[in-house]
């Protein structure tokens, strides 16, 4: 387990740092000035130092200089309210890995500490089982992709928000804002797969708004919500920077087709966190279902490779949202997945409904796979 020393004359800052990094599973040490920090480093080895600049007795730059003079190359992340370029440039010269300006967010510190230790970004969840030595660390898994199931609606009419919510499947999260500014704020905080924007949004320059939305959400599909007010309105909306148009009032079929295009054709079908693999539901028309299964099968091969690379010998496959409208096809898909996992040597625990269990039971390839009705049960069985 990596050991981290936080050196700061503020007790509250040391506590915040210890709490934030302690959450990642690191062992924390504390010192209230540079002299105490050097003493701690002599007493026991640390993998990283989180260091303030201004402190009594011996300040951060003084401590860092003494560390380097004595040949101590422990990585250092500065955590300071000092932003003067000349001071930070001098610290960089002495060898610091990164810098965090106070006041700070815990997430920023965590990300920079993990990077300095060459640990994967999802260390908190996946990395505990990984070796402490950065050199031995397994390749990181991609973080879960919440964008696959999140929609933003920007429209000044609240009823439009309600209508979208009523037409979208429950597993898709819908956020809404009444104006562009709030919508941009939501885009800074979350990741979206689909953004629906009123084509007549008051006080907004649409080309400028779409350009800004693309900067914030490069992977999202931008769709204009508009009336059929003119023959060339779709062309006009494309010219304003939108990918697609959804006409008001919304027809169920049009919304379903749009969701199918966004969430199936964009291949945001599988999310993976640690050894938990979750399959997204199907939101399109029936004639697109085969396409969904083909895409899903291709994605599962990539997922299996990543699991194996990350040294997982077992995995949970959450198929709760797998569509069962074509039962044979669904069963066949799951059986194929079970077979591939078995061949790779990764033990699979399947989560799904009783109906899925019955379907899967018909396939020889799925024999021996344990099926659970909830994620909790599957995890508990590990």
């Amino acid at each position: 387990m990596p050991r981290i020393l936080t050196v700061d004359d503020s007790r509250s800052i040391r506590m915040i740092v210890s709490k934030a990094l302690g959450e990642l599973g690191f062992e924390m040490g504390e010192a209230d000035d540079g002299n105490a920090g050097l003493k701690k480093l002599q007493e026991g080895s640390y993998d990283l130092v989180v260091l303030d600049v201004t402190m009594p007795n011996l300040d951060g730059p003084g401590m860092l200089a003494k560390m380097r003079e004595s040949g101590d190359k422990t990585p250092v992340v500065m955590l300071t309210s000092e932003s003067k370029t000349s001071i930070i440039a001098a610290l960089m010269k002495l060898g610091i890995q990164d810098y965090v300006l106070k006041p700070f967010k815990g997430d920023e510190l965590k990300i920079k500490v993990l990077k300095a230790l060459k640990l994967p970004a999802d260390y908190a969840s996946a990395g505990r089982a990984a070796p402490a030595s950065a050199a031995d660390a397994c390749p990181s898994l991609p973080a879960a992709t919440p964008s696959a199931s999140r929609i933003l609606v920007i429209d000044d009419m609240e009823n439009v928000h309600k209508k979208v919510r009523s037409l979208v499947p429950a597993e898709l999260m819908v956020d809404a804002s009444l104006n562009a500014s709030d919508g941009m704020g939501l885009c800074r905080a979350n990741k979206y797969g689909l953004i629906l924007v009123d084509g007549e949004l008051p006080d907004s320059n649409l080309p400028s708004l779409t350009k800004q939305l693309r900067l914030l959400q490069p992977k999202a599909v931008l769709v204009a919500l508009t009336l059929r007010s003119a023959n060339n309105i779709a062309v006009e909306m494309h010219a304003q920077g939108f990918d697609d148009v959804l006409f008001k009032p919304f027809a169920n079929e049009a919304v379903a087709a749009l969701l199918g295009r966004c969430f199936v054709e964009n291949q945001q079908l599988v999310s993976i966190q640690e050894n938990l693999v979750q399959l997204a539901g199907f939101h399109g028309r029936d004639d697109k279902l085969e396409h969904y299964f083909v895409e899903l099968a291709a994605k599962m091969k990539e997922v299996l490779t990543k699991l194996a690379e990350a040294c997982f010998d077992s995995a949970v496959l959450d198929a709760s949202f797998l569509p069962l409208s074509q039962p044979l096809r669904a069963g066949q898909f799951v059986a194929e997945v079970c077979k591939t996992f078995a061949e790779t040597g990764v033990v699979l625990r399947l989560v799904g409904s009783s109906e899925l269990a019955t379907l899967v039971g018909r396939f020889e390839e799925a024999k021996g796979v344990r099926l659970f009705h909830s994620l909790e049960e599957a995890r508990a069985a590990a």
Binding site: A89, K93, L101
Partner: protein, 284 residues
Amino acid sequence: MKFAEQLEQIVKARIESDSLTLPALPAVAFKAIELTRAPDINLQDVVALIEKDPILAAQILRLCNSVAMTTREPCSSISQAVTRLGTKNLRTTLVEISARRIFESRDVKIAAAVKALWEHSRAVAQLAQRVAVVAGAADPDTAYLAGLLHDVGKPVVATILLEAESQILQRNARLWIDFSTWMDVVQRCHRPIGLSLAQKWQLSDEIQHAIQECADYDPGNRLSTGNAVRFANAVAKQLGIYAGAVNAEENDALVMVGRSLLGIDDETLTRLSKDLKEKSRDTA
């Protein structure tokens, strides 16, 4: 006294005595900006005014249809361009076109340098605008204009230096100044001139602040226009989109501090700056 020092003193003396003739905003651009600020604005009056200046009109159309303004069908008339841009963007466009003229020189000695400075300014403008969007700064368009004008004093100083140089050379033909020293003098003298020009063009206080100081961030106002411009300026220099010497250590420190100050992670910075070289060239 060394020749470079003589030149610097001449420039500084002219700044202190307020005897510099700074480039004015072209009359039509100035009038058009005034019209767009009027509470009872009539866009047709603005269109009619711009159409009286064919060069300005052509430049507005070119900028409106440039790569930077992607996604739209091309504009074919000033009326279309003005409607599409909106008043705020039109003002930005008019200032941009006017500033572009300052970054032109018939003198071969400085033409290439001021062109490179203009490309640097374009890159800083675009990156500052993107950073303002992602970080949540108040006005990305102001950040764009501030980035575009943060070095506007440099070509003005360059022109003054040329005049001063020829005066001194008439007295002592043996003296000459090498290019790097010459750029060094420009670097040391340009800020007050850029600020005076911004004041003369009646640009906002935010833009004036961004021009005034680029050495350090303002940690008390993390999402300020000035901070976005300082960060963009340092990143553009790191990417090599610059003319002149760069203190690499201080510049790297500016980038490191700016990333934390503005909350820009590595992945986002790579995404925001990946097409900067091409974009600054395309639109210059």
